[in-house]
Symmetry: D2
């Protein structure tokens, strides 16, 4: 068993990390860190648990540490659910101390030395850490949640049919993505839509270029897809889990692949994590649904335990090549779940 640590353990993302680790066959939870206010307390006392699964018994009595590398030095991997305002400093200290950090924070996503990974889509980008120079420690970033859902079906298409020219996405995002202290206010989502999520559109428009880019020739960095133009509009809606995205896309090359080719490509896609038999890898990374009114969050978000992304209503677009609806589980493939699967990939690839 590899030893795992969790930073930001009392927060929404941290709780998910702890849940996913609690019954994991390869990782055992060895250390948990949170703010000074929580440090020294038992986890059960420090944390307002808000998951639908109960708090795992073995974590109840664990003592919360402060987020200092010394307390995590035995960890083979450290998962970070820290808020962006502290993640920058803390994660740097951990990496400098030789630790492997897999982070849900946005701070290092644009760092050219840090892979930005959606593990069912661009797991080959992880190789840049194997090929890097420098110390033992490194950082890997989980992508933004709405980026993850967007690129999941686009990456296999790009790999097969060449680069995209244009992508538009209008998102209908779940509230769990906003955490819960306080998270989205009830009065803001009851009988309402909030057509704005601070910073989100910019994240999608930039991160897609990195994730849909390729490993460079040296295998130690990513060539961004600078030609790709993405336009995003983001909304918060009254859904607990599951981001829906209405997406249009156009390939660089004309003519575009046929509708059948698109669907076959997605249906036949097997992600690398599955090929490597990673524990959490989805049987089917992309589910192509044919019913006219699917995917729907309540009905489809839990496919493959939230690691499978659903795509429906793939059809020609009068302006672009195609339009479609994507549904992804924002706290699994869009956050903590991806962190776990990245760690499994690192093990399977002998990087840790």
């Amino acid at each position: 068993m590899k030893k795992a640590g969790v930073l930001g353990a009392t927060g929404s993302v941290g709780q998910r990390f702890i849940l996913l680790l609690s019954e994991h066959p390869e990782f055992e939870l060895a250390a948990i860190g949170a703010s000074k206010r929580s440090a020294g307390k038992r986890y059960v006392d420090a944390c307002t648990w808000k998951q639908t699964d109960l708090m795992p018994q073995q974590v109840e009595d664990m003592i919360v540490s402060e987020c200092v590398a010394e307390d995590f030095k035995d960890c083979d991997v450290v998962f970070s659910g820290l808020d962006a305002d502290v993640a920058g400093t803390v994660e740097k200290e951990f990496v400098d101390a030789g630790l492997v950090v897999i982070s849900n924070a946005k701070n290092y996503r644009r760092d050219p030395n840090v892979p930005l990974v959606v593990p069912i889509a661009n797991s080959e980008h992880l190789e840049m850490v194997a090929n890097r120079e420098g110390g033992k420690g490194f950082n890997i970033c989980i992508s933004n949640c709405s980026t993850a859902g967007l690129v999941a079906p686009l990456k296999p298409l790009v790999d097969k049919f060449g680069p995209l020219k244009y992508v538009t996405t209008t998102t209908l995002q779940a509230i769990s993505g906003a955490g819960f202290s306080p998270g989205v206010s009830g009065i803001d989502i009851l009988d309402n839509i909030v057509p704005y999520i601070s910073g989100e559109e910019d994240k999608i428009e930039w991160e897609a270029k990195k994730i849909l880019g390729n490993l460079n020739a040296e295998g130690n960095g990513i060539d961004l897809d600078e030609d790709l133009v993405v336009s995003a509009q983001c909304n918060r809606v009254a859904v607990s889990d599951g981001h829906t995205e209405c997406v249009s896309f156009k390939f660089k090359k004309e003519p575009a692949p046929s509708l059948d080719e698109i669907k076959s490509c997605l249906r036949e896609y097997v992600c690398e994590a599955k090929k490597l038999n990673c524990h959490s890898a989805p049987e089917q990374a992309i589910h192509v649904l044919e019913q006219p009114d699917r995917p729907q969050p309540r009905l489809d978000r839990n496919r493959d335990a939230g690691y499978g992304v659903s795509v429906g209503r793939i059809r020609p677009d009068p302006i672009f090549d195609y339009k479609m609806v994507i549904l992804s589980h924002n706290t699994i493939i869009g956050a903590a779940g991806s962190g776990i699967l990245i760690a499994e990939l690192l093990v399977a690839k002998n990087i840790i």
Copy 2:
């Protein structure tokens, strides 16, 4: 006072017509029609009232007629909230009998002899009925609800800056638009999105060409804007009233007008109904909001009693010229309310 009739009076749209007419200074409710099942009953007995305003007392004891022209022959105008499966036949009979029908049904929207009108946007299209040949009766169609919100801000822009080349819209539509017998099921919208509304995308993509088109040279028909390409994706969300649309658009002419020009055009726009002092005309047809997270259905849908459309987040789009968020009240400007304002325009223009 002009005499008004309402067809489909027990349904969701019919109830709205009745509410809006109940305190109207120009129209009095003279006849109400519904299905055979309801005919002969008092309205209060035939109808499951679902409005947040109480049923107007004067309508409680009115006897429901069948939908036959004979029973409406004294009406100066007849508002139709009939379902599409019966609207075709009934409305034709009424028009043939010399009656003026303003219909919320989709049946005649694509008829070249019938104006398709969003009264705060293309009220000049009403002139084709004044200039038409033929009998006394005629039909005017209210546009689809999500089309109404979309074209409301686009029409003044087209009038000022010339035609559009591309428009995309992703809608987040309220459930009141689906009626309520049964309408949208609770289980379908609680913690959920339904990314599909039968026929809706096609309606938007076609109707926009007619509404953004121009009166022909003879003034008795509409030249469709055949060059305009619209791409729509429609979703049903957990909102009671108010359709939100995330819209991108590109003008034919380059360079596009500046952001300031766009905003000024919308802010300064005064709709014809307002100039003619129509009773229900909004003081401000288009509200340009500057807060980053607006418009929101709960906060903005009732501006100008639902006749004012709100536009926010107008900003450059990396693929098109601009993107923005539109909010419109689907049962007011998107349905019954527009019918009433069209009738007021017919009076103001001396057409009835």
Copy 3:
């Protein structure tokens, strides 16, 4: 015009006071107070406005004061929407300075020298301030929101048929009652119920004894109904405005009045505020609904502009005498609205 001040003006209750005052025929808004953080700013800059009605234009540029009596000395009445942690001190300072304070805070509700008033129910309790000894200033407390809905129909019954022995209420309370910074979290009410509201049950069980009590012989205090036993269970539900309560009650005297007598009493009840022609007084204080599935928050909360309370499903209870469902608008009759109507009563009764 009397001059009115509002304390806690940027909060949820304060915003409602400002809205209700903005078009009031008797009161004009003369001063607004909030925390140090907001003091000195224009209201529009200090406040995150969350009402469905737009911020009244005349208040946008008003400068927010700190909550010190000196800045409110010209006010004939001061409405307090302060939080309980500051209301105690601030309101005392105001009263000591000779000001009249009508407060939504809980701090002085149990003070024997302060009337606790639901203005459509026990407005005669206001007379104790006319008959009191002491200085010019005094305090009047608005009741807790769920108490207000409960006692509104019970008070006329008690006045007619004598005291109650037992009352049980299970509440289904709207989220607007919890304010909005942060108020109820979205994740707590989406597809969920929270069966607990801190302190609420105790407030209902105690406040009912005071409101259903009588003016003492001297007319300067209230004899609590100490014999009355109330049992409350409180829940937060996914409703924006409008508290629903499922209530059972038993009179002290046997036999109990008949169902017809109960209904007639409620139907015929005219509140004192209406008799005195107070501007905001409801035409009908208690609406007795006969439909089997009413009252419902969305359909009934706005009766008489939220000053009318709806009662439905009155029927025999196998344990108590009767059971029924009550719906009251928690921010109108349960908070700011009652404050305004109390002020109107003070004017009508020549107390201010």
Copy 4:
């Protein structure tokens, strides 16, 4: 493997039966029946599947029968999810033909020859079918969903501390209990409460007397607890799954057991199904929660796969002995799930 049939297989309850049977170690699905309209079709074509779990593959191609006993003659047990308007006739035909029917319909619940069973509460009532005279076939009724949640914690209390005198319950019921064709309309539960469910209160008030009653001396019938008085008020709320009930209760005997005795009794309770090692039996039939704001539907409904009932906020009641909040999963312990567990009990008790 025992052979199982499902009647009403395309409806909401039928779909749940099929899901629960699809991976069951003791039962295999052998026959499915529905209305004439569906008969002869493949299940996947006849059914609008609305479960969050996917339709089990093995049932997709099963052919739907009509609901006639002949087509189910090989079944060891038949689960009925039929609507009440057809269940009476169909189930009688099945029983007369010698089949064992476990029914979710209300039709035979008050039949003195039919046990009414909540399997975690009164499984000993099943013995009356072993002791009965007559043919091979018999019927067992699953209780109403809100009755199930109510009696689950009350039955162990009654067994230990003697009969109850009074029980009151105010329910906040999930929409899944109403099925979905059409079920509860979206407009009825969005930002709303419906304080009425047809027939529900009467069901609770009567069924509790039977379930909390005892096997008669002959062991072939139930002595109703005729002295027990139950008062119910039922509400439909915006929750997908999970009925919340606010309950008060008073024992016949005075003094009542202490709060500690109540909690210990519930905590220590082990249901018979668990003792018999039934596959679906909950590890813990009653979960006593100590957090002040629990149970909550979203967080607690899935305890023990929905077979565990949660009880929180147990505290003294000023009118009765105690009050508390109960949460039960209405489609598991309140419907199909109980049917499956009853069948497991019949097998464990060698009745089938």
